[in-house]
């Protein structure tokens, strides 16, 4: 592994020059390919570029829209770099990292990064994973989980949450603080799916149990929609339509003692309360040359409330085991020490598998967010905490 000091030369060499998204809904009424094209066109236009400028494309491994489908549908004629990163929601920061790598190695100048899904009207994310008659045999290791009734993402994260309760005494109100904070921010963000639907702590506590200790409102949304960002060199971005948002550093790392499979095996890995984000954080802070105390605003991947609590500890915003009290202190609110998920995140904004967090990070540093944090110069964006995770630090251009 290269030393962190070697990375200094790459800091802030690339930027996000354009962002785009569709509306977020329960039923988009159109194909995922159409959504991807809309978000891509929107991001390209936002940057003041044209389709001919795009010479790199990066896909998330779980996207049904292949690079070929998108390149064909948009008629991209000048593509010379095509990449893919997994797994699912753990990928978006690393997708941007792959775009940076392509640009700094001379393989592309302007890279389109996209994620499109009909996550509610077509392939529901909260449904049973692969409910086939037989499980396993394809390197997914479902044979150890689904035959026993461990079928869904909420159950898998509930096992992590219960372990957090066992070790640290985490309370329902502490999990709820994450959900209620995201909802507050969504209610100040017109495009958020839960805009106009306020939620109090009492509402949270009254929501039905999905799988203990997780309630309905501990779970993120299922969304139809798409997002896209345009990555280019910082030098080039300065001449484009928008103030560039610099990519100070990206990082990607696996969990200790991990295995194949997606989320279910995580409870069998070395320390289920310290999965891949702990290692991502070490790399990221070293590469960025700054630490959690230097972060003004954070977009933290929130598939479940427990995901946020674990990452608050992993990224060093609070000591291990103290994320519950930290969240309950109000620290995550817009006026708190670490304003988080300022558009409502996956929980209340819209679940675009984590590329939504990148888009909101850019809005914050442009100063165009709906819940704008005054003087925001740095933003941490994290991606899913399961498997090989990733994160990045964005910085406002001087």
């Amino acid at each position: 592994m290269s030393a962190a000091s070697d990375y200094a030369q790459y800091r802030n060499r690339c930027a996000i020059a354009g962002i785009g998204r569709t509306e977020f809904s329960k039923d988009s009424g159109r194909s995922e390919l159409t959504l991807a094209c809309e978000a891509a066109r929107s991001a390209i236009a936002d940057a003041g570029l044209s389709l001919a400028d795009i010479d790199g494309v990066v896909r998330c491994d779980m996207d049904h829209v292949t690079q070929g489908a998108l390149i064909g549908a948009l008629g991209l004629a000048n593509v010379g770099f095509v990449g893919e990163v997994g797994i699912g929601g753990s990928a978006p920061s690393a997708m941007v990292g792959m775009a940076v790598a392509a640009i700094l190695s001379g393989q592309a100048d302007t890279v389109l990064v996209y994620r499109a899904l009909n996550g509610r009207s077509e392939s529901r994310f909260g449904a049973a994973i692969a409910p086939r008659s037989h499980a396993g045999g394809q390197g997914n290791y479902d044979e150890f989980f689904t035959p026993f009734g461990l079928l869904t993402a909420p159950q898998s994260f509930a096992l992590l949450a219960q372990r957090h309760v066992v070790e640290y005494g985490t309370t329902a109100e502490q999990f709820g603080a994450v959900a209620v904070t995201c909802r507050e921010h969504a209610n100040r963000t017109p495009h958020a799916q839960m805009h106009g639907k306020p939620m109090t702590m009492d509402d949270y506590l009254a929501s039905r149990v999905i799988s203990t200790p997780l309630r309905l409102f501990d779970c993120c949304l299922e969304t139809d929609g798409a997002a896209a960002v345009i990555v280019t060199s910082a030098e080039r971005a300065r001449d484009l339509a928008r103030p560039p948002v610099l990519i100070r550093a990206t990082a990607q790392a696996p969990a200790s003692g991990m295995s194949g499979g997606m989320m279910f095996p995580s409870i069998t890995w070395n320390d289920p309360l310290r999965l891949s984000p702990g290692k991502v954080a070490e790399l990221l802070w070293a590469r960025a040359g700054i630490g959690p105390e230097d972060i003004d605003v954070a977009q933290i991947y929130d598939c479940f409330t427990i995901s946020v609590l674990l990452q608050l500890e992993d990224y060093g915003f609070c000591p291990r085991g103290e994320s519950g009290p930290f969240a309950a202190s109000g620290a995550l609110r817009a006026d708190g020490a670490l304003p988080m998920n300022t558009d409502g995140g996956n929980m209340s904004g819209g679940y675009i598998h984590g590329l939504n967090h990148v888009v909101e990070g850019v809005r914050q540093l442009r100063g165009t967010a709906d819940v704008q944090i005054d003087g925001a110069n740095t933003c941490l964006v994290t991606s899913g905490p399961i498997g090989i995770s990733s994160a990045m630090v964005l910085e406002k251009a001087a």
Binding site: A135, G136, E143, P147, F148, V166, R208, V209, S211
Partner: protein
């Protein structure tokens, strides 16, 4: 009632776990070099990288590591409520196995658990766990 999901037993790394269960034996992968248990089972040790691993017979005793009472139905063959348990093997605590208990079980972290063998049809037997 709809058939429960059955594990395949042809995977070269994981199949022996399920073929042993058919004989009401609980086995886990053990590393002869570092002495730790390996789960998900594989021929290489995830702790030390050794290739010197083997299947070992487990005592069938363990400790409760985590659990969740599932109340939201997602599959007709798994009527709610039921409890998913995660159990660390007594002789190999790195090995954490999943089991299912009907209903909402009253459980406590660290409590002793005991394996039992659940014949789910088509010749498939699942090692399950209940409080000892």
């Amino acid at each position: 009632m709809t058939q429960k999901i059955l594990p395949v037993d042809f995977d070269r790394d994981t199949g022996p776990f399920f073929t042993a269960a058919r004989d009401h034996r609980l086995v886990y992968r053990h590393c002869r070099d570092c002495g730790r248990g390996i789960h998900i089972p594989s021929q290489t040790c995830k702790h030390c990288g050794s290739l010197e691993t083997e299947w070992r017979e487990a005592s069938g005793r363990g400790q409760l590591f985590s659990w969740t009472v599932t109340r939201n139905p997602t599959h007709p063959a798994y009527p709610v409520p039921y409890t998913i348990v995660v159990v660390s093997l007594e002789e190999a605590p790195d090995v954490r196995l999943i089991g299912r208990i009907d209903g909402a079980a009253e459980l406590e972290a660290g409590q002793p658990m005991q394996v039992w063998f659940d014949d789910v049809g088509e010749g498939v037997v699942l090692p399950q766990w209940r409080p000892a």
